[in-house]
Symmetry: C2
């Protein structure tokens, strides 16, 4: 059977089992594969480790992804994974594959973007690797973080929890479609420009880490592949049923405007568009209001968008539409 | 100016300056970009961090690189970098890009190879990232190690030092040529098979780390791009002139045989072939004999192949041929 036939989920599940069997027994492995990042205990320090790859024409196109933004985003998405474990980013490494036809100024700007993001998140960029990649650009990014206390895993969701999302979902994916449809150049209006910036220059929610420490967050995931698919991941990992209330989704004016221009449905962009690099959190209901306020104080918009309503063997995500009907939700980005 | 015009050296040098200016001032950065790996001080633990990428048709071809060996080598080359800093590998992460046309068994075997190498070097494989890479396979590997004592940098070479190389240089590159010339299948004779194994399954010299601790090694580099170019790197970093004695190069019978079959010059393969993932070391002359014996005891062949003869502003590598003549050496693998 081929990779594109088995699909991403089963492929990664096989790998998780394979690695868990061999390395999971080691006490230093606090969190292995299968969460946003791995956690390794080393001389009483908990290290959070993650790697991501961005590939030309899969994750971005050269014609609409300037090098500064590519450098920025490459590190940002890995930092977002570290934050989703409750970790504070410390250092980053980059490996870049270049065709050789890029200008030196392109490479300079790529690193300027990576450096700018690192500086804004107090992350040290330690360097990396440069190789020839004749068939297109590729970037792998690694971020090392440290974790105080326990990791916030995908599997900790409890029945009764409130589901909270940071930021305004769907904007990044609206920005992607503006670019992909060649409307990036004409998107001079602030709302459209904002969506494009959200796609090209996501801001990992590093300030959330200090807020997490004052509250007992049960579970977290960064929603890079889409709200629904990432909600499914925590539902599966925790064996629960999550009900998302569509009337509570924070759909911004910018999203609505960009949806109109791109001919996309705003709700679909928010639910399955992906690329948000926001956090989806499962929070005890007794503290959720206070938690959302603390997040806002830290500069991070946070909205309650659902509830964990029951245990569920396979994990399930339901959606309550504005007319009150409830349906099972699916969909989001998968590589295979 | 384009990347392929400026070349790999100046490109990386620019980047080193750029990062050094911004992050080099941070006291946690013990070694930044420009050595085999970076060293980060974190709560009194020195972490060694490195990233490498292997790209299809640049670093390997699918037709002669089986998945087990690809998985093995991907981690091995990063472990070799950690060892070259004096670090002990602890954990690895992999990011793999697949076209989707690979079989699931291909992916299983890739990870089996990575796991086998990790087990043989007591490294935890924590997982990683799987993405679609439509134009060919790619693998990024990250290894995190710990360092007791001071890092062994490229810049510590002193005049009078003995230059030592581990293993038998040139074999891996002979193996590459056997494969590239389509002679992999007919290479059933043990010496040829040995060269192919040296290319496809390099064994990072992790046992060397404990030996390093008993001796004051001045400098180290792993010779992945070729003996001469990597000798030049330590010569440049240390501002010295190194004289390699060709009569002392450990040219194995296997290399000589593979050179004959591939029509290549054995000495050239040893000097500029690359892919050895052996260590080039600068050792105080007073302890070099004892050091080489200790390495052999640890299962690592080690040979004195040269001397550091003078200070030199740009750094230079000379070679003494078997007829006694001396010439300046250049050459090795560069991406651009």
């Amino acid at each position: 059977m081929k990779v594109k036939e088995i699909g991403e989920y089963p492929l990664v599940a096989r790998l998780c089992q394979q690695l868990e069997r061999v390395f999971g027994i080691d006490k230093r492995v606090v969190v292995g594969l299968g969460d946003d990042a791995s956690v390794l205990e080393l001389k009483e320090t908990k290290l959070v480790l993650t790697i991501d790859t961005q590939i030309e024409d899969v994750h971005f196109r050269r014609r609409w992804m300037p090098p500064f933004e590519l450098g920025w985003k490459s590190v940002a998405i890995s930092i977002s994974d570290v934050v989703a474990m409750g970790g504070k980013p410390v250092a980053a490494l980059l490996a870049i594959g270049l065709t050789g036809d890029e200008t030196v100024s392109f490479v300079d700007k790529f690193y300027e973007g990576a450096i700018a993001l690192c500086q804004s998140t107090k992350t040290l960029l330690l360097g990396g690797d440069t190789a020839r990649s004749p068939n297109g650009l590729m970037v792998s990014s690694v971020v090392v973080g440290v974790l105080e206390g326990e990791p916030i895993k995908r599997s900790g969701v409890q029945v009764g929890d409130s589901i909270v999302v940071t930021g305004f979902v769907g904007e990044a994916s609206a920005g992607f479609w503006l670019l992909e449809q060649g409307k990036g150049e004409i998107a001079t209006s602030p709302p459209l420009h904002h969506c494009i910036e959200r796609f090209r220059k996501p801001e990992p929610r590093v300030n959330a880490v200090q807020v997490f420490r004052s509250f007992q967050i049960h579970a977290a995931i960064d929603i890079s592949d889409g709200l629904v698919i990432d909600a499914q991941r925590i539902a599966m990992a925790s064996n629960v049923q999550i009900l998302l209330d569509f009337t509570k989704l924070p759909l911004s004016q910018a999203l609505l405007e960009a949806a109109k221009i791109t001919g996309k449905d705003a709700l679909s962009l928010a639910l399955t568009g992906g690329e948000d690099y926001e956090l989806l959190l499962s929070v005890p209901p007794s503290v959720v209001t206070e938690f959302c306020q603390a997040m806002e104080t830290a500069g991070i918009p946070a909205h309650q968008i659902g509830k964990v309503i029951a245990r569920h063997d396979e994990g399930q995500v339901l959606g309550r539409h504005s007319d009150g009907t409830i349906s099972s939700l699916q969909g989001g980005f998968q590589h295979f």
